[in-house]
């Protein structure tokens, strides 16, 4: 395998800023000094890799992986997509971890106090590793919207959290997936930390009728893009991309 160059600079105007007062918790948790720009060293261009042996057969099945007495309540869905880099090339072997509320908008977490009921058959966590073409999929139930203490009446749109490991620690990313057609996306103080409407739209999964399982599950397509790498010049050839 040839050497590859460093990663493209992160577009900080595309990502949320650290300080976003409409999301109140960010006010005291946002660094105020400018970040120190550091062209990647080996420390950032390497990263942990997770083998398929780490993943159990039910890890990508949130309908079954915590079930005690039956299936969880809620709309059955499949979420699938690809992990790509900014050069539009697949990222194989990427570890994805996802977590979400249940159909009523309640998380299974000791600090969660929302009055919606816990579902005894739903844990809300899963994970998957992308295949050679960067593909992943999992099965779950559609999470509910829920209120949260920010403004006196702020609600999160239905969403699934994603944590992604690419091939290098420089690519480490946490984001959230939203659902096509949800009007609450455009009323959310956390969504609106993303400055560009096109950036928000990149996080909205598309309903895919062709990928549904008839009489069983709806399907949503959600692609994730990680940072891409520069080509390097080796003698007189471009390498790496």
């Amino acid at each position: 395998m040839s050497d590859q160059g460093s990663f493209y600079q992160r577009d900080r105007n595309w990502h949320p800023a650290a300080f976003t007062p409409q999301y109140k918790t960010s006010v005291l948790r946002s660094p105020q000094y400018p970040l120190l720009s550091l062209d990647n060293t080996i420390s950032e261009m390497t990263g942990p890799r997770f083998g398929h042996n780490k993943i159990g057969p039910l890890d990508n099945d949130l309908i079954r992986n915590f079930a005690k007495t039956g299936d969880p309540i809620g709309q059955r869905i499949i979420v699938y997509g690809r992990v790509l880099d900014e050069n539009a090339r697949p990222v194989p072997g990427a570890l994805l971890e996802f977590w979400q509320a249940n159909a009523g908008g309640r998380y299974r977490h000791k600090k969660e106090t929302y009055l919606a009921a816990i579902d005894p058959n739903f844990g809300g966590c899963g994970r998957a590793i992308t295949d050679e073409e960067g593909r992943y999929w999992f099965r779950t139930i559609k999470p509910g919207a829920y209120p949260w203490p920010n403004g006196v009446n702020d609600w999160r749109p239905a969403h699934i959290h994603f944590s992604v490991f690419g091939h290098a620690f420089a690519q480490r990313l946490i984001t959230q997936m939203y659902f096509e057609g949800d009007p609450m996306i455009w009323q959310c103080p956390i969504v609106s930390t993303i400055p560009d409407k096109a950036g928000i739209e990149q996080l909205i999964a598309a309903l895919d009728r062709n990928a549904t399982l008839p009489m069983d599950s709806l399907a949503y397509k959600f692609d994730i893009v990680l940072r891409g790498r520069r080509s390097t010049m080796f003698e007189n050839r471009m390498e790496g991309n």
């Binding site: 595309w14 976003t20 060293t41 539009a88 994970r127 480490r172 946490i174």
Partner: protein, 208 residues
Amino acid sequence: MVQKLTTLKESPSQTAGPYIHIGATPNWVEITGVWEEDLGLVLVGPDTKGEQVIIKGRVFDGSGTPLKDALIEIWQADADGLYNSPEEKRGKADPNFVGWGRQPTDGITGEYRFETIKPGRVPYKDGRPMAPHITFWIVARGINIGLHTRLYFSDEEAANAQCPVLARIEHKHRVQTLIAIRGEENGLPTYTFDIHLQGEKETVFFDI
């Protein structure tokens, strides 16, 4: 008009939120039976080469309050300065050291803790050695995009003084925000590394 570039945009970051533990450390929040062990808890085994150390500290917000809902990941080289990664082209790292760890900050005290080894030196882009360091990545509710920083060691004064990355910090008093202080606990060396998100003691964070 000119031709369009074919590159994609990186997916925008969103906060990890208060419940990241459900996905990252489910057993720690009593979601048991889904997978046996949370990833990243154990870095060191009986055959790992190098000096065993404990890394600990807290993450403070701008009011001086420790975060009790943060998650910290670390990434570091082995005792010889090699990374256990397919992207490491310089040689083969210690197979008994993964180099990656993940811990939540404690729900009551806010303290995090890693049992690891002290890493060897890794070269900078131009070949000069960087001082031994551990990459930190911090996410939490209220942090919109994960924060990268580095831990350096207080007993590596000579190496720190020559480190090309530390040399890039313009305001020299801020270098101290990256230096973990050596101590001892039950015969094991400890390094205390507090992270300040904001305020006079704000940690140096990197755009890598």
